[in-house]
């Protein structure tokens, strides 16, 4: 726990108030930074011994119009997992690649590009990873409705309608909507 606080303190010292740090779980802390600090921070952490980039996640907070990128860093020496989070605009998602810092990021960025439509300038290989002949919007975005897509493309027999139903009340002034 001490080592944990130590690195968080260091980050605070190096990056100021813009980096929100908080211990989260046992051996797991989070650092929230604005996008412009992301690359310096990752570089700094790498130098501090956080050499294992477990993965890069993206969470679609569609209500807030933002993607949250989460870089999962692990330090073998400190035994600490850091969730480095940054928010980017959902409409025009662009993040500079982190390949110069973590070479292994190439495939993760490639996947995010395919699944969320995030652009990573500087990444040499952003070709589709999983999908072939894809015609929908990036599938992992919240506004992509897989069930609708399936019904249109594969003609799935939709059982959901007859699956199970119960009466719903008609509340006053709501005109049939629950």
């Amino acid at each position: 726990m001490n080592g944990e606080m130590e690195i968080l303190e260091k980050v605070k010292k190096a990056f100021g108030e813009k980096a929100e740090t908080a211990p989260k779980w046992e051996r797991q802390s989070e650092i929230k930074v604005p996008l412009e600090l992301l690359h310096p921070l990752l570089g700094y952490l790498r130098a501090q011994g956080f050499g294992h980039l477990a993965m890069i996640s993206c969470v679609d907070w569609i209500e807030e119009g933002e993607f949250e990128l989460v870089y999962h860093l692990w330090s073998y020496e400190k035994r600490l997992h850091l969730l480095v989070k940054t928010r980017i605009d959902r409409e025009n998602p662009t993040v500079e690649t982190i390949i110069p810092i973590f070479r292994i990021a190439e495939t993760y960025e490639r996947e995010l590009h395919e699944m969320f439509g995030i652009d990573f300038p500087g990444n040499p290989n952003l070709t589709p990873l999983f999908l072939e002949d894809w015609d929908g919007s990036p599938p992992m975005r919240r506004d992509f409705d897989t069930r609708k897509y399936v019904e249109e493309k594969y003609g799935m027999i939709d059982l959901t309608k007859e699956l199970w139903k119960r009466e719903e009340p008609v509340l006053e002034g709501e005109n049939g909507e629950d």
Binding site: D60, Y76, R147
Partner: protein
């Protein structure tokens, strides 16, 4: 000139030399690989998307499909992630049973692995033996969980059922059988002169390279780096159990295989301890109503040591009945794509399948 020197060929998706449904596009000069590009996506089902459409509990049958040879790591990861977010306590007996299941799954995955590497080497007797022996473990699973391959047994809050009567004795019997057979394997396989000749010094991975490329698990330990999630970021009751982290440290195909061979014995040791130490008690905590279980907004990354490396789940909840996002980190993701693409260059054609099998690349967990 270049065009004449190189020729292209594919291994996979329909090819015995690839570890499942994926493919590699290879450029070879003579017998030497000069370029290799992996192509994945043959198994992409969009699990992460599907999980966002389902209740927390409904995802329990969903997750094991992510890694087919060793499905239980997914169950435990999902359960651990949800338990952390929801603040559920797991009874101790359930934790022991979970370790039992996980280690049995590790044994079966390693037997599969031995079979795979031996198959790639052409030693077809070993697959026949190893998968046959693995079936005894599957029988145990069937007895315990009701399913041979997809156990759907570890659920948030514990495990779905207690051990059936007489189960411990059956496990001990199978363990004894495996130990006996291990000497057979040693003689035919691990000590086989040709096996050593084919694998030693091939596809050497240095420790520095492995660390840089995010190589984990037995593949990392085979380069000489002593690290195991079970010790480094312990979960369940592993801190209470006694086991070593063997390290071979050659970084080549041979040490990768032998690394598993040594860990195989450690797993047997763990299971024996679990059987002795397992306390009595309940095996599951009461869960909230499955249809209305809401988890407050939070997120957590959980990781376990699978037979292939570090398996991790990033679970995000947003206060609703359904997960916001579940991101799966399969160990093969790095092993199968970037590492394979870089490491396979310079290998002989015949060594490529052996290398891929020795890395234990498992396409389903790359693609989800």
């Amino acid at each position: 000139m270049e065009r004449i020197e190189h020729f292209e060929y594919f291994i996979g998706p329909q090819h015995p030399g690839v570890t499942g449904n994926m493919s590699y596009h290879l450029w070879a000069r003579g017998d030497e690989i000069v370029k290799i590009v992996s192509s994945v996506g043959y198994l992409h089902r969009g699990f992460e998307k599907l999980m966002e459409y389902r209740f927390w509990i409904q995802n329990v049958p969903m997750v094991p499909r992510i890694c087919v040879p060793e499905p239980d790591v997914n169950e435990i990861l999902y359960a651990m992630g949800v338990e952390r977010l929801a603040g559920l306590e797991v009874p101790e007996r359930a934790q022991y049973i979970r370790v039992l299941v996980l280690e049995l799954a590790r044994l079966s995955a390693y037997l599969f692995y031995f079979a795979g590497v031996a198959g790639a080497l052409g030693l077809y007797t070993i697959p026949q033996w190893a998968i046959g022996d693995r079936d005894y473990i599957l029988d145990l699973f069937e007895e315990l969980t009701g399913g041979r391959v997809y156990h759907i047994f570890i659920t948030p809050g514990g495990v779905r059922r207690d051990l059936p009567p007489g189960f411990k004795e059956k496990v001990r019997k199978v363990l004894k059988h495996l130990k006996d057979r291990l000497s057979d394997y040693d003689r035919l396989y691990f000590d086989n002169a040709l096996f050593i000749k084919r694998t030693k010094g091939v596809a050497v991975m240095t420790k520095e390279y492995a660390l840089e490329m995010g190589v984990t698990g037995p593949n990392l330990r085979a380069t000489g780096f002593r690290y195991d999630v079970r010790r480094g970021d312990p979960y369940l009751v592993y801190p209470k159990l006694e086991f070593d982290i063997p390290v071979t440290g050659g970084g080549d195909n041979y040490s990768r295989v032998m690394q598993r061979r040594l860990e195989f014995e450690e797993s047997i040791r763990i299971i024996e301890q679990v059987l002795d130490m397992m306390p009595e008690g309940p095996v599951i905590t009461k869960l909230p109503n499955p249809f209305r279980w809401k988890i407050e907004k939070n997120d957590v990354y959980v990781r376990v040591e699978s037979s292939k490396g570090e398996f991790g789940y990033y679970v995000v909840s947003d206060g609703s009945e359904k997960p916001r996002r579940i991101h799966v980190r399969g160990p093969s993701y790095t092993h199968g794509i970037q590492v394979a693409q870089e490491m396979a260059v310079g290998l002989r054609i015949a060594d490529v399948p052996v290398f891929l099998f020795s890395m234990d690349v498992c396409p389903p967990d790359i693609e989800r």
